[in-house]
């Protein structure tokens, strides 16, 4: 009875639970910090469980619709609405489900880690409120089927993220990074809002499926497309609109930086959703596909080359995050570029999309892990400056092992998960354009070189006198990192299972606009 209620209402519950907990947490913190920790940890565990339950239900039974305020959760069109889906609805297809899995796993690992790594800081009431609002924003963004609702969740996410980037203040530098992020996010959100206004003015609809069904690709639609693509590409850190990323990623607490990676990927999801679901074959797929490819190549090359000379480990990792986003843009961009050509799509287009989407989940796990290891090092020695580090492998063995796993995965070394998704991208992109594939491989080599430097600088060498008393981080932080490390290894050892069960359905759901429209307008799968 209770289980069926939870499954039936899981789309609503997964955003309601963290949303309510966000405002309960600071109140319970006034009673005792331990109570707050239990509330936050419990709320996140429940949210992750509900989210995974929903995702597994979507993979087993197809797209889930949840219409807020309707008599039945799947009643997308009210009897008196003239055939227009007027209510707010969540449309959770396999692509959304994949993003839910990423958010559920990473957010749970991060909260376990945070409860220890942040325990000595002040202002934790606000910290956990903003953290849970970030989770709410991400889950809402990737689940909603209503474009204005997408904007609302995007704003919740941006405001919460800006607050957390500034959380440590750090002599004003963190606040400056947060202001940069906030100004750009606001501009991007404004662009998205204008695009929504254009759709509403033309098609009298905010529901994504209905807009997609009525899409004419007029000049105004082209303007709306550009506004959305540019805004969300900037939000996901694509070069040359990436400048906020190293500032924000390096100044936020490390646990928040790990979640910011997922936040950026939620924007990437929004970009893909807009291009594939709203427009699909109505647009010039080759033109927009190549735009994404160019953004991807620029991001890969500029990201990795800017990472190499960095001295701050988190800034270095932030540039690598930009570089890895390039792989996702490249893979999915190639899929989009051949969207109208069924033979190319079957030959390599779907594999390219699957590679790009597989890289989204892989990147979230290993980059989240790497940021948490950076946070663990900061937790013990109080600096992110690589020039001041060395010899920590003697005292922080587990952290070193987790770092090695993350570093090998991001560099695309077998048998870790990054290799599997990169291999899919290399081979499929080679069939499309060999030069792009070669660039992607060279970027991987440079990534490895960069992480060899980081590994040597942090962990190798003799025990430095100033760090002779350094100990390993507390167990909850290790468990948080361990969860992500296990996922990295498991996804690397069993990539075919992940691709067949999670990634391929997501790629096909993204490409199949007709099914999305039929599911929503038809009132259920």
């Amino acid at each position: 009875m209770i289980t069926s209620f939870i499954v039936e209402n899981s789309p609503a519950l997964m955003v309601i639970v963290p949303f309510i907990a966000a405002f309960v947490a600071p109140l319970t913190g006034r009673v005792a910090p331990a109570v707050r920790a239990w509330i936050v940890g419990g709320a996140m565990a429940i949210t992750s469980a509900i989210t995974l339950l929903l995702a597994s239900d979507v993979y087993a039974h197809g797209t889930r619709l949840y219409v807020f305020g309707a008599q039945a959760a799947t009643q997308t069109i009210a009897p008196d609405s003239g055939g227009i889906p007027v209510r707010i609805m969540f449309t959770v297809d396999p692509m959304s489900a994949l993003m839910l899995v990423i958010t559920a796993v990473l957010a749970f690992a991060v909260v376990l880690y945070s409860l220890t790594s942040e325990r000595d800081h002040t202002g934790l009431g606000s910290y956990y409120t903003l953290f849970l609002l970030m989770v709410t924003g991400i889950l809402g963004m990737v689940s909603t089927g209503d474009i204005f609702n997408f904007f609302v969740f995007l704003e919740i996410l941006s405001i919460a993220s800006a607050g957390l980037i500034a959380f440590r203040i750090d002599g004003g530098i963190a606040v400056e990074a947060a202001i940069k992020y906030f100004v750009l996010s606001t501009l991007g959100a404004l662009a998205v809002l204008i695009a929504i206004g254009i759709y509403y003015g033309q098609y009298n609809a905010l529901n994504m499926a209905l807009i997609a069904q009525r899409m004419q690709y007029t000049l105004l639609d082209q303007v709306a497309l550009v506004l959305i693509v540019a805004a969300l590409a900037m939000k996901c850190g694509a070069v040359p609109m990436h400048f906020w990323t190293p500032d924000a990623y390096s100044m936020a607490p490390s646990s928040i930086t790990a979640l910011l990676v997922v936040a950026s990927q939620a924007s990437l999801y929004g970009l893909f959703r807009a291009v594939f679901t709203l427009y699909n074959v109505t647009l010039n797929a080759a033109c927009i596909g190549w735009l994404l490819i160019v953004l991807g190549v620029l991001s890969m090359v500029v990201g990795v080359t800017m990472a190499i000379p960095q001295k701050n480990v988190k800034r270095l990792m932030a540039y690598h995050a930009i570089s890895q986003t390039g792989y996702m843009l490249l893979g999915v961009g190639v899929g989009l570029a051949v969207l109208g050509n069924q033979s190319f799509l079957s030959a390599f287009g779907y594999v390219a999309m699957e590679g790009g989407i597989f890289h989204i989940i892989n990147h979230a796990m290993y980059k989240g892990l790497l940021f948490l290891t950076a946070g663990a090092i900061f937790f013990r020695i109080g600096t992110y400056d690589l020039n001041r580090m060395g010899g920590l492998g003697h005292s922080m063995k587990w952290t070193m092992v987790f770092f090695i796993i993350g570093a090998l995965a991001i560099a695309g070394i077998p048998p870790f998960n990054g290799y599997a998704s990169k291999l899919m991208i290399y081979e499929s992109v080679f069939a499309f354009n060999p030069i792009l594939s070669v660039i992607a491989m060279v970027v991987s080599i440079l990534t490895l070189a960069s992480f060899v430097k980081v590994f040597h600088s942090i962990f190798m060498g003799p025990v430095l006198p100033e760090y002779k008393d350094v100990k390993e981080v507390p167990r909850p932080m290790l468990i948080g990192m361990g969860i992500l490390a296990l996922v990295v290894i498991a996804f690397g050892l069993f990539p075919s299972i992940v691709v067949d069960t999670l990634v391929a359905p997501a790629a096909h759901a993204l490409a199949d606009q007709g099914m999305y429209i039929a599911t929503v307008i038809g009132g259920g799968a």
Binding site: L184, V226, A230, W244, C287, T305, K453, H456, G461, F494
Partner: protein
């Protein structure tokens, strides 16, 4: 079973378990070679001390090569590239906004003209 572990990559395939098996075999070979090494080595004695042309060994903290010294050759060879790319990263919010608006304008031109 094979389908469970073999990833189809379009043009080829990838089986991580085969790779792990190969790595395990390589590890066994490495261990065999290691076991054939000299047995009269005594750690913690003068045998283990570095020979620096007769000079005394510096403090441990002084022998660690710091991050700033790594890849100096690469960065020096790529100086032209880095001088231009680093200078674009001004840290000035006005520039960030201009880049965003400029790229948006460029996209608009491309999309409207090409389609």
């Amino acid at each position: 079973m094979d389908a469970l572990f073999t990833l189809d990559t379009g043009a080829g395939f990838w089986n991580p378990l085969l790779w792990v098996l190969g790595a395990a075999v390589a590890g066994v070979i490495a261990l065999v070679l290691y076991s054939l090494g000299r047995r009269d080595y005594k750690p913690g004695t003068a045998q283990a001390e570095p020979f620096l042309s007769g000079n005394p060994e510096p403090e441990k903290g002084l022998v660690h090569v710091r991050a700033g010294n790594l890849y100096w050759g690469f960065l020096d060879a790529m100086e032209g590239y880095y001088s231009s790319i680093v200078s674009l990263h001004t840290g000035d919010l006005h520039d960030y906004v201009l880049w965003y608006l400029g790229v948006s304008a460029l996209f608009l031109i491309v999309v409207v003209i090409i389609g």
